[in-house]
């Protein structure tokens, strides 16, 4: 004799879940309304699409020689900024982890300062440094150092938190100082991850530094701002394509390096 057990009743969704979903839906409608959400211009302006696509098929190749220098500046900004950001980050990350910083208030203060630091977007740093050291790629570099530093510090500090305790105990047991502890037990353990964060930051810096030109911080963005305001679609297409090639090449190189590091 077999009695087929009835299917168990599905528990009812708690009213709290519905309430939260309603709040989220309400906020979404409010957000959409506040920015006048509509999609009609992209359907109405078929001629703009055609013109843009055409510009990308036939970019102005003769304009290319004039963007070699801005592209080089963008690359330089990214490279120098990524290097210095990584250098500062590995030092400061030691202050922002309980593993390496055992003075409670220093640790708490640095976490707090870094959270505020990270909440500033790169373009805000760029505007700040343009105001302080004048417009040009130098301001852009300083801005990207400040911004990338925040990212690398956070990732590195989290890696330090998760470091293997064994070597730490060994250094403590042999009477090592705090500095020796960081040097011998922490740095070798986090180095592969840290290098990969630094490279990742380099990739994002190349992408982010496109915007720098818009606030006067040099690089290829300056040319892009001028050409797109003037409506020279063929030149804009050339700049965009060249920038994309640079970004993709650097992404690929960095990906290869990171894969090699993680072996």
């Amino acid at each position: 004799m077999t009695t087929v057990a009835g299917r168990p009743r599905k528990p009812r969704t708690a009213w709290k879940v519905w309430a939260w979903l309603a709040v989220v839906a309400g906020l979404t409608v409010l957000a959409g309304w506040s920015i006048d959400f509509t999609l009609s211009p992209s359907i109405r302006n078929v001629d703009y699409w055609l013109r843009t696509i055409l510009a990308f098929i036939t970019p102005n190749w003769s304009y290319f020689p004039r963007i070699v220098e801005p592209l080089w500046v963008t690359f330089s900004i990214s490279l120098v900024a990524a290097a210095f950001a990584a250098l500062f980050a590995i030092v400061v990350a030691m202050l922002a982890s309980r593993v390496t910083m055992r003075i409670e208030w220093v640790y708490r203060l640095s976490r707090w300062v870094l959270a505020v630091w990270r909440s500033l977007p790169d373009v805000v740093w760029a505007m700040l440094f343009v105001a302080m050291v004048g417009s040009g790629p130098f301001a852009g570099t300083l801005a990207m150092i400040a911004f990338g530093f925040g990212i690398v510090v956070k990732l590195t500090a989290e890696t330090i938190d998760a470091v293997d305790r064994g070597p730490l105990d060994a250094v403590d047991a042999s009477g090592g100082t705090g500095f020796q502890r960081a040097r011998v037990a922490v740095v070798p353990a986090i180095l592969p991850n840290f290098a990969s964060y630094a490279l990742y930051n380099f990739e994002s810096t190349v992408r982010a530094s496109v915007v720098l030109g818009y606030v006067g911080a040099g690089g290829v963005g300056t040319a892009l701002a001028v050409q797109s305001k003037a409506g020279n679609y063929e030149n804009v297409a050339m700049i965009v394509l060249a920038t994309l090639v640079l970004v993709i090449v650097i992404d690929a190189l960095s990906w290869l390096l990171r894969r090699w590091l993680s072996r």
Binding site: G32, I77, L79, S97, M132, V133, R207, I248
Partner: protein, 285 residues
């Protein structure tokens, strides 16, 4: 035992590693030249930082409920909320577009001839900066304003959300899929009942994480004309209104930190579930 037996072995050294290191250093030095460092201005920077910093902070110490200052605070908060709205709508667009694409790009769900080309498209999308979508496509079509920014963030986030999501789908336990398939389910039903319930928590967590990123990206788009706090700050920087810049930055920091912590708490709740489960990393932060 002789002392020679205790000699520390020489550290192996690969010659090409040295070559790479030298190349990087040379490239760095050349690049330093390219950015035209202005050491004089840098030396003056601490001084101007103190001067401008003081001006910015003094903006914060005026009574925020008095005549001109209340308007400055309200303007900054309003523009920042517009940036948050822009990031939210952008993230939703990206979520809606990336979810189906992620299933089509997961090798345990879709056939190879779909997976491989789609991944190339996602990779390409991921390497295009949001700013370029805004400048080339959406600002000419939608004019200056947060809507163009929201759409640019939406398209710009599809690449990374798609990648993160298909990695989650590929990392899921295969038994569930087998079980659903064994009941004779069609491919769509396998996705609906086998894959979706298992991967959604992690994917939603990634959406929220992207939302946090997009709030910052929204401010960037503002500076190129997409409205919101970025536009406000840019005009204040042009006019050197340091006290209003101070107010604007304070609003950016406060609202970003608040939205980040709400979003992070929600992510944690989605992943770890309702029970209080101590998370070692979260406790440290």
């Amino acid at each position: 035992m002789t002392a020679a037996g205790l000699v520390r072995p020489r550290r192996p050294r690969r010659r090409w590693l040295l070559a790479i290191e030298v190349a990087v250093v040379v490239l760095l030095v050349v690049a330093m030249w390219g950015i035209a460092p202005n050491w004089e201005r840098l030396a003056q920077a601490p001084e101007s930082l103190v001067r401008y910093g003081w001006l910015m902070i003094s903006g914060l110490f005026h009574n925020p409920f008095e005549a001109p200052w209340s308007a400055h605070w309200l303007a900054a908060i309003g523009q920042m909320l517009a940036s948050v709205a822009m990031a939210w709508i952008g993230t939703l667009i990206a979520a809606a577009l990336s979810l189906p694409l992620a299933f089509l790009a997961a090798s345990n769900v879709a056939p190879r001839w779909v997976v491989i080309p789609l991944r190339q498209v996602l990779n390409l999308l991921r390497s295009i900066p949001d700013v370029l979508f805004a400048i080339v496509i959406f600002m000419p079509l939608y004019g200056l304003g947060p809507l163009a920014g929201a759409l640019a963030l939406g398209i710009g986030s599809v690449g990374s959300l798609g990648k993160l999501s298909y990695e989650v789908i590929e990392g899921m336990a295969p038994q569930t899929i087998e079980a659903v398939r064994a009941t004779g389910a069609r491919p769509f039903q396998v996705v609906r009942w086998g894959v979706l319930p298992q991967v959604m928590p992690e994917i939603v967590a990634f959406w929220l994480y992207r939302f946090e990123i997009n709030i910052r990206a929204g401010a960037i788009l503002g500076a190129i004309g997409a409205g919101g706090i970025g536009s406000l700050l840019k005009s204040h920087f042009q006019d050197r209104n340091w006290d209003q810049i101070g107010i604007g930055l304070a609003v950016v920091v406060i609202i970003t930190v608040i939205v980040d912590s709400i979003s992070a708490a929600t992510r944690h709740r989605i992943i770890a579930g309702g029970r209080v489960r101590p998370d070692p990393v979260a406790q440290l932060s």
